[in-house]
């Protein structure tokens, strides 16, 4: 972080900011075309995500946004780490599932431990499970050159089935709905504030992950190895870095984070494993990671944005009458603009050139 300057910070951040801005504009146009009022929709969205105060029965809007941001943050850090090595971990969702399952299993199968041991052990189980699950893809990539894009997607489907089988079969509790028994109280990731607030210690864990991410990626030799492999694999190899090994390690850590996200989510909010745990977090977090541009603070802000969209959507629909599907439209446009930085650059570059046109004659236009 030497040579820090706000100009540099902005040059890194502006494509993300511009993408969000453009997506808001385009989604707003969609609303206008479909006969809704975008101003009203956005106002109520902001209200529902950030401004509504809590009551005796309702949590504070902003704190609940942080609850929604928690899994996004941890998952996006994991996905972003893989990006750093030039790997595309689309398997975050599956790693989240397997992590959640492992955490729940340790949570209700192990009994009689004090919380100080049981809770960390349950979280660790989730992280290890996620790491192993992603590690399969990492190992196939390292030893067989199998593209991780394909293997991680495949592993997603396997994980859904594994969870379904376990929840409907060996781990099914005695009630009517297919789900596991509740975890022991000693494995619960507790709330930080009294009810009805839902903010739990998982958010702090997520923040700690972001700090750890910074030190790992930007301050440690392993992080530099990962970055060099991502920046120029051949040069990394030339310099004696074991590229395949680095791929495997990266996938292990990436999957570990995603598994931890599953553990955090399940041990705090659910406290059992349902059969349908289709959060979609693992896929939305790819967008969060892209938006965060590899910077932990950027990823934090992007996670809060996505948390806000998720958290504010319901109130927006209720208060402005705009369907909350517009949130999906908005997210999709954010992804489009982030993934195609050329569009954003051309658009804004074009505006800038037009503004500067009188002072700067076009190239080759004059003698």
């Amino acid at each position: 972080m030497r040579n820090f300057s706000f100009a540099k910070l902005w040059s890194g951040a502006w494509p993300a900011v511009a993408s969000v801005f453009l997506a808001l504009v385009v989604a707003g146009l969609v609303m206008v075309v479909t006969g809704s009022d975008p101003i009203k929709a956005y106002t109520s969205l902001i209200e529902g995500a950030f401004l509504r105060p809590g009551t005796d029965t309702r949590p504070t809007a902003f704190l609940d946004t942080l609850v929604s941001a928690t899994p996004y943050l941890i998952l996006a850090l994991g996905i972003s780490l893989a990006f750093t090595a030039g790997l595309f971990n689309i398997g975050a969702e599956g790693q989240l599932y397997m992590g959640a399952l492992a955490s729940v299993m340790v949570g209700f199968l192990v009994k009689g431990l004090p919380p100080i041991i049981h809770l960390p052990l349950s979280l660790l189980a989730g992280a290890v499970m996620g790491a192993l699950w992603a590690g399969i893809a990492g190992w196939l990539k390292a030893t067989r050159g199998a593209p991780e894009v394909v293997t991680t997607i495949m592993l997603n489907y396997i994980s859904y089935s594994v969870v379904n089988f376990m929840v409907n079969g060996p781990l099914r509790h005695t009630g009517t709905a297919p789900r596991t028994p509740d975890i022991e109280p000693s494995a619960v990731l507790p709330n930080m504030l009294p009810s009805p607030e839902r903010l739990h210690w998982g958010f702090v864990i997520a923040l700690l992950c972001a700090v750890a991410y910074y030190f790992l990626v930007y301050r440690s030799p392993l992080g530099l190895r990962i970055r060099l492999v991502g920046a120029n694999k051949e040069a990394a190899r030339y310099a004696g870095i074991q590229v395949n090994r680095t791929y495997l390690i990266t996938m292990l850590i990436s999957g570990g984070l995603c598994g931890l996200a599953g553990g955090v989510e399940i041990l705090s909010l659910y406290r059992f494993m349902p059969s349908e745990f289709t959060t979609g977090y693992g896929f939305d977090s790819i967008a969060v990671a892209l938006l965060g541009q590899g910077n932990p603070i950027g990823i934090l802000l992007a996670a809060i944005l996505f948390g806000a969209l998720a958290n504010g959507a319901g109130y927006m629909q209720f208060s402005s009458g705009v369907s909350n599907y517009i949130i999906s439209v908005l997210q999709a446009f954010i992804i489009v603009f982030v993934a195609a930085p050329g569009i954003v650059r051309d658009l804004f570059g074009w505006i800038r050139i037009k503004r500067a046109a009188p002072a700067l004659p076009a190239k080759g236009g004059t003698k």
Partner: protein, 495 residues
């Protein structure tokens, strides 16, 4: 060309340049990389528009808006990297973009006839039906020349035309150029090779930092004078070195067999040794297995047979890490692919293989202070021209990138140096510097394996020369007891 000036952001690439080309002469444009030769020629070819100045052709001011204009005015250009489609025939390549039709079909006969006519007139024998991919480099270049003549070029610009040729092919090219000139074609010959400029040019214009620093003729200026004009200070052309005092074998290669990317045998059972304190040069036309040989030795490519032994230990297959650990330094031929991470700053690039050791890593974290100090030291010692150590290495000029790579590789304890094309794309001043460092490394007891397509480089640096042809070592010579011509014949496989 009169008063040509061209500015790029931050650089004055051409500063009020005047250049006269008489009919039927070969005019050499001599200068280091970045001196402005290419900019000037790109202006002539219409790729850039000058900020000031005019171009006159046969006494008439002309405006050249693009290559199409340039061709229409009779200006032809042969680029350093050929613009040919390997899977098409000679005739198809030559007519590309100006195909003639017979009804709705392509007319192949008329162009072929015209090509034969040109070939006869200028003594450029070429088979119009041959496929480019089957032709040796020298003939491919001939196709490029015929291509410009087919478009009725009267002014021919050749950009570093000898870079890819053997000495014998260079002789062939020069003969061709003399014939062309005799027929009234005028030639601009761009080069940084003094010997060739002296041999072929009628007049010489020397450029330095975007300015013309002098006009001269081969008769008036010797190589030393041309070099000092180019660089702006006296240059040592001969490498100063004492006879080698070789010690024990540092590297020994045993019946090495290596495949190319296309799964054909690139290195075919090669054995040799390099002793401590000697420079062994591998001469050969590019593409005869040198690249694969170097990649195998440095661990970037797995050999299919044979062993690489360093100080009596077999190196594991395909492990650059093991090579580095054994004391191997490697200046790679392709610095963009292997030698550097363009988007990363000099600081990182200068510790690329050592950042995870002390003092660059302390208590498990990178130690920026030491990494930056190392960069500043090396930048100073190796005269890397850069605003500061945080500049991404990709933003530096080629010569400075190369100096940075050399600096990094020399900054580790070194038992063996594998230097592959160590001065490619580097200016004369830096070449002198890099050569000096290589000889110093030798004198300090390192074994040096030098691979270069520049025969002059091999001849002036090596103590012993091995010649590679079609994947085999076809000859070995003591440098003191051989000649350029002798080695040149070996390079063509004539043992």
């Amino acid at each position: 060309m009169r008063g040509i000036t061209k500015r790029f952001p931050g650089v004055l690439a051409n500063d009020n340049i005047n250049l006269d080309l008489n009919k039927g002469e070969i005019h050499a444009l001599l200068g280091e990389n970045g001196a402005g030769k290419s900019t000037l020629m790109n202006i002539l070819y219409g790729l850039y528009q000058p900020d000031a100045g005019e171009i006159f052709l046969n006494g008439k001011a002309v405006k050249i808006h693009g290559p199409r204009d340039a061709i229409a005015q009779g200006i032809g250009m042969v680029h350093q990297h050929f613009m040919l489609v390997p899977t098409l025939t000679v005739a198809e390549n030559i007519t590309l973009g100006m195909e003639e039709q017979k009804g709705v079909l392509l007319d192949v006969e008329r162009p072929s006839a015209k090509i034969k006519e040109i070939a006869k007139k200028y003594g450029l024998e070429i088979d119009p039906g041959a496929y480019i991919k089957d032709l040796p480099v020298g003939l491919q270049q001939r196709v490029e020349i015929v291509k410009t003549l087919y478009r009725d070029a009267q002014v021919l610009v050749l950009d570093e035309p000898t870079a890819v040729l053997t000495p014998q092919e260079v002789e062939g090219l020069f003969a061709t150029l003399r014939t062309l000139v005799a027929q009234g074609v005028s030639i601009i010959f761009i080069s940084h090779k003094l010997k060739e400029v002296k041999a072929i040019a009628n007049r010489i214009t020397v450029l330095r930092q975007g300015r013309v620093v002098g006009w001269t003729t081969p008769a008036e200026a010797d190589e030393a004078k041309l070099a000092s004009m180019m660089v702006g200070r006296p240059v040592l052309l001969k490498v100063d070195k004492t006879p080698a005092k070789p010690g024990g074998e540092t590297l020994s290669i045993k019946s090495l067999k290596v495949m190319s990317d296309r799964k054909s045998v690139a290195v075919d059972g090669v054995s040799f040794a390099v002793r401590a304190g000697e420079i062994v040069g591998i001469a050969g036309v590019e593409g005869n297995g040198q690249t694969e040989l170097v990649e195998a030795i440095t661990g970037l490519r797995a050999q299919t047979e044979g062993a690489i032994v360093m100080e009596s230990h077999d190196l594991p297959r395909e492990s650059p890490r093991a090579g580095i650990a054994a004391g191997m330094s490697h200046i790679p031929e392709n610095r963009h692919k292997f030698g550097m991470v363009s988007s990363y700053p000099l600081t990182t690039n200068l510790v690329l293989s050592t950042f995870d050791r002390a003092p660059f890593t302390k208590n498990g974290l990178l130690n920026d202070a030491e990494i930056e100090k190392n960069a500043r030291t090396l930048i100073k010692e190796f005269d890397v021209r850069t605003p500061n150590e945080f500049v991404p290495i990709g933003k530096l000029s080629g010569g400075n990138q190369q100096k940075a790579v050399v600096a990094r590789e020399f900054s580790r304890p070194m038992k063996l140096l594998v230097a592959s094309q160590p001065t490619r794309g580097v200016d004369v001043g830096s070449i002198e510097f890099i050569h000096k460092r290589i000889v110093e490394a030798r004198d300090k007891g390192a074994a040096v394996l030098l691979i270069s397509a520049e025969l002059d480089e091999i001849m002036s640096l090596s103590d012993r020369i091995l010649v590679m042809f079609k994947g085999k070592i076809v000859g070995e010579r003591e440098t003191a007891k051989t000649t350029r011509e002798d080695v040149g014949l070996l390079m063509m496989g004539k043992v």
